[in-house]
Every structure is written in structure tokens, then in C-alpha cells.
Amino acid sequence: MKNVLYNLGYFLKEAKKIIQLNLLSNIFSFLGTGLILFMLAMVVCGWSIGNRLVEMLQKEAEINAYFQEGTDEQDALKLVETIKNIEGVSDAVLIDEAEAFRRMEEVLGEEAYILDLFEDNPFEAYIEVRIHLDDIDTILEEVKNLDGIDYVRDNREVLDRIQSITEGLKYLGYLIFAAVGITTLVIVSHMIRQGIYNNRDQINTLRLLGAPNSFIGFPFVLVGMLLTLGGGILSAVLIVVLINMGYGQMSGTLPFIPLPPRDELISGLLILIMSTSIILGLAGSLFGLSSIKNTGNNGQ
């Protein structure tokens, strides 16, 4: 430990020299590591957005029940009351034609003018039923069979699709995580091995002078860490830029998609990237260091 403190400047100079000795490969390793980590960050980002979406949709699980022809307001309100009493239903409200029209106007925003093309209000009245997702099957069945209800629409399909995309992203995330791990380990340990090979004379001399392996290996571990940390910082910058752009776009064009809080997302991703890169840098360089043992042929 004392030797590390006493020689910090020396170790940094050594690390610089090791990197310079093979500059181009080291630059590409750094870029490569950065880009794979960026990919990892993107997938994790997509996954957490998807998760958030599913969470919101699950909380807002609702079904819409449409009336048979000839149901008047009186019957409709009675139906609302009946539905409210079904187990698993948290609320039910009547949405009349005017309200349905207004809602569509809201969803369409600037495009709402297309509604003017209709002579009459094209929308029907319906009952909006908020439910607990777990009970969706029985509720659907019951509501459908009520007198005066024609058919029922639910958002389960959308929910299922988003859920399966999120699930897919999760597995993609695992895959990319494995890819990041393997590739980074191979790149870093290879670069370290290369550095050791290029420095074999010096390493050999140091051994003959009695330097312990930890002293000889330290600059190489430093190089490994610098490579992956550099890659980590590169990917962090890229992902922050991407998220800021994405959030700007989304809030303009798709305001109804619930996104996780930006700061929370960014800080989570930064922690993930940085810790992954540090761990991989350390592991990769220790992995590569094993070849120090086989360098030179001078007894110990």
C-alpha cells in the first residue's frame, strides 16, 4: 500500500506509456467498450420505460361497456349502478356521446379538426369501468351478460403487448449484459496481455530486482480500469444526450405516454454503467495479468 502511494506518479506514467505503446488498439478498445456499454444503457432505458408504462396501465386498468340499441339514459344509469356492485369493480361512470366526443378531441389535439368532417357526433355513449386487473376475466364475462350491454372493450390487448415487449427487453437486456461482460473482459484482458508482452523485458528486469507481482501488475490494472472507465464515461455522455433528446421529443408528440422521471432514470443508468465498467475493467485486467506469470524465464 505504501509502495502504491509512494509511486502514484510512476504508475500513472507507466500506464500512459503502456497505452501509448499500442495507441490505436487502445483507442478502439475504448470506443468499442463505450459503444457496447451504450447499447446496454439503451436497452435498460427501454426496459425501464416499458416497465413504467405497464405499471401505469395496470393501475388504470379499465374496460368500456357499450349499450344495446334503444337503451335510454334511465336504463344506462341503472346499469352503471349494477356494474358498480360487481366484485372487483372500483368505479363505473357513464360517458355520454358529448363527453366521448370531447375526449377524442383531447386525444387528437391539433388533429381534432378531422372530427369536423362528421356531420353528427360519431361516438356512442358507454360506461367506463375501472377494475382491479386480477379480476378482469370474471368482470368481463359478467358485464357482457348484463341486459342492455351490447359488447365490451378492454385494453388488455394493449397491456399484454406492452408487457411482452417489456419482458422481451428484459431478456435482451440480459443478453446484452452478457455480451458486454464477455466482450469487455476479452478486449481488456487482451489489451493487458499485449501490454505485458510489449513490456516483457522491463517486467523481467523488475522481477530480477525483486519487484513483487502486485507492483509489476499495478500499472496494467490501471490501464484496464482507464479503458473501461473511459468507455463508461463515453457511453454515459451518449445516453444522457439521447435521453434528453428523447424526453424533449416525447413530451411534444406523445404526451400521454407516462415516462419515468428523467433524473431518476439518468442517475440509475449512470450508476449501472459506471459500476459495470469499473467491475469489468478490474476483472478484465486481473484476467489478463495471469499472463505475467508466464513472462520471462528467470526462475521466479
Binding site: N3, Y10, D201, N204, L206, L208, G210, F215, N298, Q300
Partner: protein, 230 residues
């Protein structure tokens, strides 16, 4: 400090470089190892710093048994030795100063102390004006002095100099021998190999080890003369 009993060294290719070597060296001794080229002088030094291990017999250096069993202990032992290699083994692309520092960086010496030791050693070998020169730009004799400075700056208990007079003219060779022997003191043993016996003709107060085809004979504290070994 050094104790060799019936030590033989056979290289992996079958060459028997040393045969049944018995040798005892005490702290503060000056030892010259002489013998023609290929006789086994370097091999003997290699054994002393654990670059090779005895194929038979037993050897201990500074109390450390020289066996393959514990590499860490051999590394530790090497920190007590100041080696001057036949081919120097300086680190290219670095200054004389940096090379000398390199021998001390893992000894737990403070940076200030390291610099002071290195400066003093370089001054002592007469390279005050070349401290910051890269070693590949130095002359043979200067490079050798850097190697000596690196060996002595760490204040070793045992200095091993392999053929330090090779490639030097007569006067310079004598200067180098004087320099090396000046590091001998009551704690520091100096061992020098050379095939130039004329350089040490008349030297006394030293131990002379003559190696011939792997066999050694030892003459202690006599005035050196070729005739001592018959």
C-alpha cells in the same frame, strides 16, 4: 551468508554447468570469480539470485534456502541483492535517474529518500552530468555505471557483478573494479566475476574462486596469482 554444499546445476538441455560446488562466503567478504568463457561463472551467480536452482546439493543465500518451493521468498531475497548483469538489463527509453529509481520503487522507501539515494549513487559512479540522459544514448562504460548505481542505490547486502570489466579498456576496467570493491563493508558482500585475471593480479584481502568447466576451487585471502590454482 552464502552456503553451497555439493551444488550441481544441469540446464534443461542437459548441459552440466556446475559440478559439486562447495562454497562458503561470510558477510563483508570480497569474492572474485574467475574462469574462461563458458566455464560457469554466470551460472553460479544465477544460482545465487534464484534465476536457476541447484539440480542437486543445497544452497542458501542470506539465510534463504534456494528452492523452487516459495517464489515469494525468492523475490524478497532479491530485494536484498544488488545485481549488475553481464548485459546490464537497463530499461530503455528511460533516463539514468529513472533506471536507478526503478530498483527502489518497491522497497517501501519514501520518494524523497529514493531520489536522494539515486542521486548519491549516480554521483558516486561519476555520472552526475548524465543523470537525465536516456540510457540508450550512453556509452558502454556509462551504461555499466548506471547499472552499478542501480545495484548499490538500494543499499544491498550482496552485490553481484557479472563480468563488469568486459568491453572496457584496461584503465576503465580497473576503475570499475575499484568502484565496485569500494562498496564492500562489514555488512555488504561483493562478488565479481571476470575472465580478465590480469586485472586482479596482485589483489589481496579477497576470496578467489576459480571456475573451470563447472568445477570450482577456492583460495581465501591470499594474494591473487594465476599460480594459486594448479
Amino acid at each position: 551468508m552464502i552456503e553451497a554444499k555439493g551444488v550441481s546445476l544441469r540446464y534443461r538441455d542437459g548441459t552440466l554447468a556446475l559440478k559439486d560446488v562447495n562454497l562458503e562466503v561470510s558477510p563483508g567478504e570480497l569474492v572474485y570469480i574467475t574462469g574462461p568463457s563458458g566455464s560457469g561463472k554466470t551460472s553460479l551467480l544465477k544460482l545465487l539470485m534464484g534465476m536457476e536452482y541447484p539440480t542437486s546439493g543445497s544452497l542458501s543465500v542470506l539465510g534463504q534456502a534456494m528452492t523452487k518451493d516459495d517464489p515469494r521468498k525468492i523475490r524478497k531475497l532479491r530485494r536484498l541483492i544488488g545485481p549488475v548483469f553481464q548485459e546490464f538489463k537497463l530499461i530503455k527509453g528511460r533516463s539514468a535517474m529513472e533506471n536507478v529509481l526503478m530498483g527502489m520503487r518497491f522497497l517501501g522507501i519514501s520518494p524523497k529518500q529514493m531520489k536522494e539515494n539515486a542521486r548519491n549513487a549516480l554521483i558516486r559512479v561519476g555520472l552526475e552530468h548524465k543523470m537525465l540522459s536516456r540510457v540508450e544514448n550512453l556509452s558502454w562504460g556509462e551504461a555499466q555505471r548506471v547499472a552499478i548505481a542501480r545495484a548499490v542505490a538500494r543499499k544491498p547486502l550482496l552485490i553481484l557483478a557479472d563480468e563488469p570489466t568486459g568491453n572496457l579498456d584496461h584503465d576503465n576496467a580497473l576503475n570499475i573494479l575499484d568502484l565496485l570493491t569500494s562498496f564492500k563493508d562489514k555488512n555488504t558482500t561483493v562478488i565479481i566475476t571476470t575472465h580478465a585475471t590480469h586485472l586482479i593480479e596482485g589483489q589481496s584481502d579477497a576470496t578467489f574462486v576459480k571456475v573451470r568447466e563447472g568445477n570450482i576451487s577456492v583460495e581465501r585471502r591470499a594474494k591473487f596469482s594465476e599460480k594459486c590454482f594448479v
